[in-house]
Amino acid sequence: MTPLRMPDSLVLIAVALPFLGALLIPLFGKHPNQREAVTLVTAVALVAAVAGLLAPVLGGARPEAGGFEIAPGLALAFQVEPLGMLFALVASSLWIVNSIYSIGYMRANNEPRQTSFYVYFAIALGSTIGVAFAKNLFTLFLFYEALTLSTYPLVAHKQNAEAMRSGRIYLLLLLGTSLVLFLPAIVATWVLAGTLDFTPGGVLGGKASGTVIGVLLALYVFGIGKAAVMPLHFWLPAAMVAPTPVSALLHAVAVVKAGVFAILKVAILIFGADALASTGQSGWLTIVAGTTVIAASVVALRQNNLKRRLAYSTISQLSYVVLGVAILTPISMIGAAIHIAAHALGKITLFFAAGSIHTASHLTDVSQLDGIGRRMPWTMGAFAIGALSVIGIPPTAGFLGKWFILGGAMQTENWLAVAVIVVSTVLNATYLLPIVFRAFFREPPKARTPEHGEAPWPIVLALTATAAGTVLLFLLPGTPLALSKLMLGR
């Protein structure tokens, strides 16, 4: 046995770090400052470990670790490929920002059970990294379920009737779809292909008829419930009952992106993009994804609660990635990958802003936000940038992903997809821009009680950072672009 090379051991370190953090956090339960320091140190160390893998991956290496076989077909193994690298990079770096935000939010709102909050959060992040670095479907599935189980207590955090009901929906829908649809798809893949490894070019090409491929694709798309493709999206609005840092990092970034990431990865590395295109089984997927994009946007328009509006917006934006898969051109898949990163930055900013408003003023509804931009200029400024990104207007990152997906749709003359993107952009603007308008250009109500300014500084710092990141990613898209291209083997 050759000794582990540096990048290989970094893979294990990256997966293990958050779990280690989760073990250490309870030891400092009585000392909040030290407890939060553990979270921050873990997050920084994680980013360092993940970033250490970037150069080798860009250089064409595929660092590996594990390879522990449980039973035939079931191996616990990690391999860092470009798409997983991109996802891990986004999730881990946003964890630092989100932890700073959490400190401000949890303390200002006097949330109970903060120690267990940080513990479950760390486990969720570790599971996310596990999903990102999974070498095969089993490992992905294992961490996918761990992610569901570790975020369930966060959704039920408030422990009132509403939180419990939401927790129930969350657990049943996510665990249910994965057990009833995702798992049979994995078993069928194993029986058909004899391997569960993610392999460039896919493993199912020529192994099954077009119909079987179509059914399998459906099992994967709906079985990966975290992607929130309609009609299996109910869990996401329900999860909004959780504290805002959970909604921001987990239900706008880690959990939902783990879903679309898995779909993208399965499409490229299990089915194989070319094999999928040749079976002609993706027409219905365009329709399903397109319907989700439009319908969720329309529902978002009608939500008065800010977090719920953002949740429906997330459902809509997630299906952009699925749409990018359904269009089945390299350029649209690159767009899908970039959209994972871009939407993460934009949407986390919007949620940070929503939580900031809640912390400073205890307002939760869109209709209450008249003139709030004058009291909270940083928050609403960041919100405006995040909104632009979600709509897809330069100079924000959201533009990039949409541009590539649109390009792919044009290239294949998939006019349905083109129409979906255009209509959705209009809808996005309709449900997001009026909030910005209200905040800055409407007179605040005279009888506003009590006086308030900006939220605590950690919150403001965090949302400013992500807003800046949204613009920065537009200006310097080199790394994500390079990774997305490598993902397709070019």
Binding site: I70, A71, E145, M164, R168, L171, V180, L183, P184, V187
Partner: protein
């Protein structure tokens, strides 16, 4: 030591039998406990040695009293029953530390020594059924274990335990009678009681006396099905599990039904299967249909149970459905799935019942509506419950997942994709009944009534934690579970006609 090693098969049975006899004469429960502890911890080592020998150098044959088979009684250990022997004796040994306080709490002092006596007697009966290669000897041990079980159930703290024991006595006797009638038919046709010998002679006899053989098969199958609580012959099980002392429930759930399932597998694959093509008979289809019915109907009943012991009892009926499903599939992956679930379910269900035993020890109740917020008072106990519970659901990373993985592949190998969907759909119901408990004990405000409740003393907590850890361990390491099950399945299927 080397002088003893050829006699390991009989020592496996005789040591607990003598232990049971001695314990019956003791007055003090604590002395009987100490005796039981020593005796029972010898068991897994003997079973382990036998299993190892069967794995490395093939089946062991032991002629009882020096009478050569097929005239005398033969004890025969191959990979399959070595595996079951090890499982039963390990479960019996791992949970025994739990007994001291639990038994002292639930059973009046005058009867505690009897309890241990019956416990050892039941264990030796179960091990006897497993180890013997003689169809009638199996009946004798079946009766020994059953009679001991009736007493153990009747020792329950609730007066309804008497009724439950009586109910089980009636049905268990019917089951045993059916079994012995079936063995009678076989004896009529073959003139032998040695299982291997029956298998040899059944083939030639099948040509002209097929009706007697089918009658024998039917009686044996129904008789054993009653003992293993195959749906709809499970009616004795929920009451027996609910009202028996906590330790007994945990013990029975991990061992008694498993041994009955072993006996069914033995008759199907090593006795009848060798002589006649039983896959062509409607037996497997009926078993398949009943297994699926168990998986759904019993699970749904479990969802609506408020008494958690009853809930887990119905869950057991459902989980037994998974095991018999694997038997009905009768292919390599399917049978492996059934056998590995026999192992995994024993581990997980014992953990679940033991943690309920700890709850009962602290609160005197296991009714769900009285357990709100208990997770904050007894965190380790309820964590173990949740881990083993999610194992039942089949979450990856737990033993339950491994079982379902093999069963699903077995179903797909048969081309039955609909069965794959049924398997996973029924685990969704398990998610509902386990999730319900997890929600109540962890996320409801803590009930003020259990002020002083904490995790139980270490002697009770340790077995619970060991079994919960085993639930995860066997989700990652399948050397002992799935690998041996696969070897056993291969041998069984290889002998089929």
């Amino acid at each position: 030591m080397s002088a003893l090693s050829p006699h390991l098969p009989i020592l496996q049975i005789i040591i607990p039998l003598i232990g049971a006899f001695l314990a019956g004469f003791l007055r003090r429960g604590s002395v009987a406990f100490a005796l039981t502890l020593v005796v029972i911890w010898i068991m897994p080592f003997i079973a382990g040695a036998l299993l190892w020998q069967a794995l490395t150098s093939g089946p062991i044959s032991y002629a009882l009293g020096g009478w050569a088979p097929p005239w005398g009684i033969e004890y025969r250990v191959d990979v399959l029953n070595g595996f079951v022997l090890f499982l039963v004796s390990a479960v019996g040994a791992v949970i025994i530390p739990f007994a001291r306080r639990s038994v002292a709490f639930e059973i009046e002092p005058g009867r505690q020594a009897w309890f241990y006596s019956m416990y050892l007697l039941c264990l030796s009966g179960l091990l006897g059924i497993t180890i013997t290669g003689d169809a009638f000897n199996a009946f004798v041990f079946l009766e020994i274990s059953s009679l001991a079980t009736y007493v153990l159930i009747a020792l329950g703290h609730d007066r309804r335990a008497l009724l439950a024991a009586f109910q089980y006595l009636i049905l268990g006797t019917i089951g045993a009678t059916f079994y012995v009638i079936g063995v009678g038919f076989i004896y009529l046709v073959t003139g032998t009681l040695n299982m291997a010998d029956i298998a040899d002679r059944l083939g030639p006899a099948a040509a002209d006396q097929s009706r007697a053989i089918f009658a024998g098969l039917a009686f044996v199958t129904v008789g054993i099905s009653l003992k293993l609580a195959l749906f709809p012959l499970h009616v004795w099980l929920p009451n027996a599990y609910a009202y028996a002392p906590s330790l007994v429930t945990a013990f029975l759930a991990g061992t008694a039904t498993k041994v009955a399932i072993y006996l069914l597998v033995r008759f199907f694959f090593s006795v009848f299967g060798v002589a006649i093509d039983f896959r062509a008979l409607p037996v497997t289809e009926v078993l398949l249909a009943l297994s699926i019915a168990a998986m759904f109907i019993a699970s749904i009943i479990a969802v609506f149970e408020n008494d958690l012991k009853r809930m887990l009892a119905y869950s057991s009926v459902a989980q037994i459905g998974y095991i018999t499903l694997g038997i009905a599939l009768a292919n390599q992956a399917g049978l492996t799935g059934g056998l590995v679930h026999l192992f995994n379910h024993a581990v997980m269900k014992t953990a679940l019942f033991l943690s309920l035993g700890a709850v009962f020890f602290r609160l005197g109740t296991v009714r769900l509506d009285q357990l709100a917020g208990l997770g904050r008072k007894m965190p380790l106990t309820m964590l173990a419950f949740a881990v083993a519970g999610f194992g039942l659901v089949g979450t990856p990373g737990t033993a339950g997942f491994i079982s379902k993985w093999y069963l699903a592949i077995g179903a797909l190998d048969r081309g039955w994709w609909w069965l794959v969907l049924l398997i996973v759909a029924s685990s969704l119901i398990a998610l509902v009944y386990i999730g319900r408990v997890v929600e109540v004990v962890w996320f409801r405000p803590t009930s003020p009534t259990f002020e002083g409740a904490t995790d139980p003393p270490l002697s009770m907590l340790l077995p619970i934690l060991v079994l919960a850890a085993a639930t995860i361990y066997f989700g990652f390491n399948t050397e002992l579970s799935a690998n041996i099950a696969a070897t056993a399945a291969k041998t069984l299927l290889g002998g089929l006609k």
